[in-house]
């Protein structure tokens, strides 16, 4: 038997006034006007109400006609938690279960009037029917309003709580931002102070370098002056450069023309290491002779007078080393701070 035969066979049993009830139950109507019309019909006509009840039960079976899927456990916990924070509206007169669809009939009426539908002729007829139903639905609408009002109160409490939370969070954030800004200001001050110290130290280093250079020049000048002062009695036997020196040392070696006195002047020596002293050696006439140990000034200079063991021309060169104080060996150390040939 085909579906068209079924329809033909059964259509005669179907009251055409109820043609939209099934679609109403399945939520398959196309607009609010049709919904309102069906609700008014159900309220006004017991046969329509009977068909509504019959088909509603059948539609509910469709919900079972799906494979079951177990919801996650967290869902039950969440629902119960929400229920705890959302009190049940106070008990009131029980309303008849006419409309089982959402939104509520009250909402639907509101939509219809807002849409301007009431000004049309066709709508006017429908509105009259609906107004008739309003008397019946009055109590239910009142209950709906009470429920909605209760829901609104719950929501308002939730909004107030959320607003308080947000205010507290905002205040906390502002405090933390202010604290962080204070920290940043302090860090900026410290960084600024450190930068100023660095600049100051750089300036000091620069000034010391200039002063040191000036001292070197002055020392050289002083050397010349010493030479000039002594030239009447001494002759310069050698002008010594640091040709093999490990430091920047240089010096003058002068010999008295009559007699065996000699003067050695040196510049640019670093302070000797602990327990050691600079030692002047004469070479080229038998074994090396350590003629003297001497100290240097703060700026690395020294003027040392001593007696030559033999005429100066018998020596080929002189060197300056660091030897242990009062424990000089027979040979100069390998590290020579100044070395020069005696011309």
């Amino acid at each position: 038997m085909t579906d068209s035969n079924e329809i033909t066979e059964n259509s005669g049993e179907l009251d055409p006034r109820f043609e939209n009830i099934a679609a109403y139950i399945l939520d398959a109507l196309d607009d609010e006007e049709e919904r309102v019309a069906v609700e008014a019909l159900i309220e006004a006509d017991s046969a329509a109400r009977a068909e509504f009840d019959e088909l509603t039960e059948a539609a509910a079976l469709l919900a079972i006609a799906v494979p079951t899927v177990t919801p996650p456990a967290r869902l039950k916990a969440r629902i119960l938690e929400l229920a705890t924070s959302s009190p049940v509206p106070g008990p009131g007169p029980l309303a008849p279960m006419v409309s089982i669809t959402e939104p509520s009939p009250a909402t639907r009426w509101s939509r219809i009037f807002q849409s301007g539908y009431a000004v049309s002729a066709a709508a006017a007829v429908l509105v009259l029917v609906a107004v008739g139903a309003l008397g019946i639905q009055n109590n239910r609408l009142g209950d709906e309003i009470d429920l909605l009002r209760s829901d609104l109160n719950v929501e308002a409490e939730a909004v107030a709580s959320l607003r308080a939370d947000l205010s507290a969070t905002l205040l906390d954030s502002e405090t933390r931002v202010a604290s962080m800004k204070g920290d940043m200001d302090q860090m900026e001050d410290e960084v600024g102070a450190t930068a100023a110290m660095v600049v100051h130290q750089e300036e000091m280093v620069s000034e010391l370098a200039i002063a040191n250079a000036a001292l070197r020049v002055a020392l050289r000048d002083q050397s010349w002056m010493t030479y000039v002062a002594m030239k009447e009695d001494y002759r310069v036997e050698s002008w010594l450069d640091d040709n093999q020196a490990v430091s920047s040392a240089s010096g003058i070696f002068a010999v008295r023309v009559i007699g065996n006195e000699a003067v050695f002047q040196v510049n640019g020596l670093e302070r000797p290491k602990n327990g050691f002293a600079y030692t002047l050696w004469l070479l080229g006439n038998g074994d090396p002779i350590a003629v003297t140990q001497f100290e240097v000034s703060e700026i690395g200079s020294a003027t040392v007078a001593f007696l030559l063991p033999a005429p100066f021309f018998q020596y080929s060169s002189l060197v300056v080393t660091q030897e242990r104080i009062d424990s000089v060996g027979s040979q100069p150390s390998d590290v020579q701070f100044l070395s020069a040939d005696a011309n």
Binding site: L29, D30, E57, L61, L62, P71, A83, P91
Partner: protein, 197 residues
């Protein structure tokens, strides 16, 4: 002691549980959820194909029961009829909202007919499978055209005009097929209606 307390709740009827709910008895809501939460969730999953959204829908449905359960009147219909109607309406609202937003797409219904429960107890699974099998059998006996109209409206949320456009059938024919399909289901499952639903 708690076990005894819970067993007492399990013995209450749906209507008795609703009376407890009207007195803000959360245990009564928990018992109702344990009875029907899986059904509501399964329906929402079936229609939305999205377990996350199905959780939201199920939550809304049971919060409606919590807030409005006191308005339910037993002589006007079975509690489960009321509950599943709310669940279906809420789910279809979500489905249509998605369509309007065009942010998500719903796959074809047939892709989801074979969803299986993963952690249902054997006893529950037996009962559920029995109900499911009977109702599916009744649906399978419907002519294809009537079955298709029910599928498109109840599970895909199409209006009767949209169904007419989709199938090329006259609108009046769609309306008639909807009515006939529900009437036949009602008749075929009258025994089920008297006990299960």
């Amino acid at each position: 002691m708690d076990e005894v307390y819970r067993l007492n709740y399990q013995g209450l009827t749906d209507l008795e549980l609703l009376e407890h709910i009207s007195n803000q008895d959360r245990d009564a809501l928990e018992t109702l959820y344990e009875r029907y939460g899986r059904r509501v969730f399964s329906l929402a999953v079936r229609i939305l194909s999205d377990s996350v959204s199905a959780e939201e829908v199920t939550q809304d449905v049971f919060m409606s029961v919590w807030r409005r359960g006191a308005t339910y009147v037993s002589k006007k219909g079975k509690f489960t009829t009321w509950l599943f109607s709310i669940a279906h309406n809420r789910t279809i609202d979500e489905l249509r909202k998605r369509r309007r937003d065009r942010s998500r797409t719903n796959d074809d219904i047939d892709d989801h007919l074979n969803l299986e429960s993963s952690d249902v107890s054997p006893a529950d699974a037996t009962v559920a499978q029995s109900e499911y099998a009977k109702i599916r059998a009744a649906m399978e006996k419907l002519p294809d055209e009537q079955k298709n109209v029910v599928e498109l409206s109840y599970f895909k949320g199409l209006t009767q005009t949209e169904i007419a456009d989709k199938t090329g059938q006259p609108l009046g024919t769609v309306k008639t097929r909807m009515r006939l399909a529900l009437k036949k289901l009602r008749k075929a499952l009258s025994a089920e209606l008297g006990t299960q639903v």
